[in-house]
Symmetry: C2
Subunit: 228 residues, 2 copies
DNA sequence: AAACTTAGTGTCTTTGCGACACTATGTCAA
DNA sequence: TTGACATAGTGTCGCAAAGACACTAAGTTT
């Protein structure tokens, strides 16, 4: 054994491999999508998996997840939260690897340059059209989706998908996409008003051959408030 | 380096120490208490800390937490859930140790034999009278308490503190202790009825010089239901 | 038997949530 | 220029859940 370890390992204190895997969500064409990577190496070569990587010896968990996010998308400063830690003894055939899973939300307008990065090895895939994933990554995505949907009910997390300025119809569409059901326009806007988390910009958004929509912005971008 | 490691460590895959620390809650004398251990060894010798231990090389995370719980309390089969993973690079002066924190709920009647175990080294301490704790354990307890209180609102988790048979007043007292506020008796019972998770046993409980109370039991002991 | 202690019960009001339909304002084509 | 079209924007009513609120019931003790 010739590598460096961050802590001395012995019988009482075994050493573990530690990775952070990140479920990176965005919304594309009215579908909730996650970023997948096609594995080039064994184990699971050729199989789709979550982006992830081994944690650096002096790296905080959050920083490791943020690094994975930045490496794959070039994006930073977006919503990123710890999801759950997966550590079954048999989850990685290489040996004992524990994964601290995170999930991130990326506004759809921040993926412009992503097309360049995308090749055969990286793809955005709708969560309801997932292929078989490597390791236990399918379970991780399910849990992340569930957590995200639950948070819609009691927080303003959906705003983390929005660009700086957006219309109320766009925001409603985000809710509908994540929840997988249609919402009533008037009830949706009534409830939004009670949150008091967005405000009019005074600008209008023109698209297509119809009435323009007011543009809104978050009052406190980057913060997620808990509702009620 | 002469110990066994569960995965080969090298520059790309550093190895980490991995512990499970468990916030063991119970309710004693109308106070929400956690089990603390007085550390006998450095680091933080003489300082109170959460019970915890290094994960075995072939041990699942849940199993490690259950083992810690059983070692300190002799109790098993109670509510035990993963809370959060703490992995700051400087949280343990010995080196890089990542802790997967769990929390457990122990019914107050299952601590009878605990007095024997208790000595200078182990104690139940009310959460609002915590001393300074080792590592980042103070933060872990705060997060666990917050999670527990939040779950009262949307699940039947409080029943996990109850013995097999209990009165409605006892159950209400548990809610009040965790939330830190008084509840209205009639509204409390009305809401309980809608959960449909407990039933009368037909027995009565006599205590003191007053009217006896009906004894109830959970319909499905050991399960926590999500409400609404 | 009177005082004491906790158990147990129902109504009314307020509030949040869901169902529901029409007008407003722009573009485009005839 | 006008009529057709497409999306933006707006308010009421009914119901169900939640909160405020006070008295009677059934034991024990003196």
């Amino acid at each position: 054994m010739n590598g460096e370890t961050a802590v001395a390992a012995n019988r009482d204190r075994p050493a573990f491999g530690l990775t952070t895997d990140v479920v990176i969500f965005t919304i594309r064409e009215d579908a909730l999508c996650v970023l997948l990577v096609n594995r080039s190496r064994e184990p699971f070569a050729g199989v789709w998996a979550l982006p992830g990587g081994f944690l650096g010896p002096d790296e905080a968990l959050n920083d490791g997840a943020a690094r994975v996010l930045a490496e794959k998308t070039g994006v930073s400063g977006v919503f990123l939260e710890q999801l759950f830690t997966f550590g079954g003894p048999a989850r990685d055939p290489r040996g004992r690897v524990v994964s601290v899973a995170y999930y991130a939300l990326v506004p759809y307008n921040r993926l412009d340059r992503m097309a360049a990065v995308e090749g055969d090895r990286v793809a955005w895939v709708a969560v309801d059209e997932l292929p078989e994933l490597a390791f236990d990554h399918g379970e991780i995505v399910r849990m992340a989706h569930q957590r995200l949907a639950a948070k819609l009910d009691y927080s303003t997390i959906a705003l983390q998908f929005m660009p700086e300025r957006f219309t109320l119809s766009e925001l409603q569409s985000v809710y509908e996409t994540i929840l997988g059901e249609q919402l009533d326009k008037r009830n949706f806007r009534k409830r939004l008003r009670t949150f008091e988390c967005i405000e009019e910009t005074g600008e209008m958004f023109r698209a297509g051959k119809h009435r323009p929509a007011k543009l809104f912005r978050m009052k406190q971008p980057g913060t997620v408030e808990i509702i009620k």
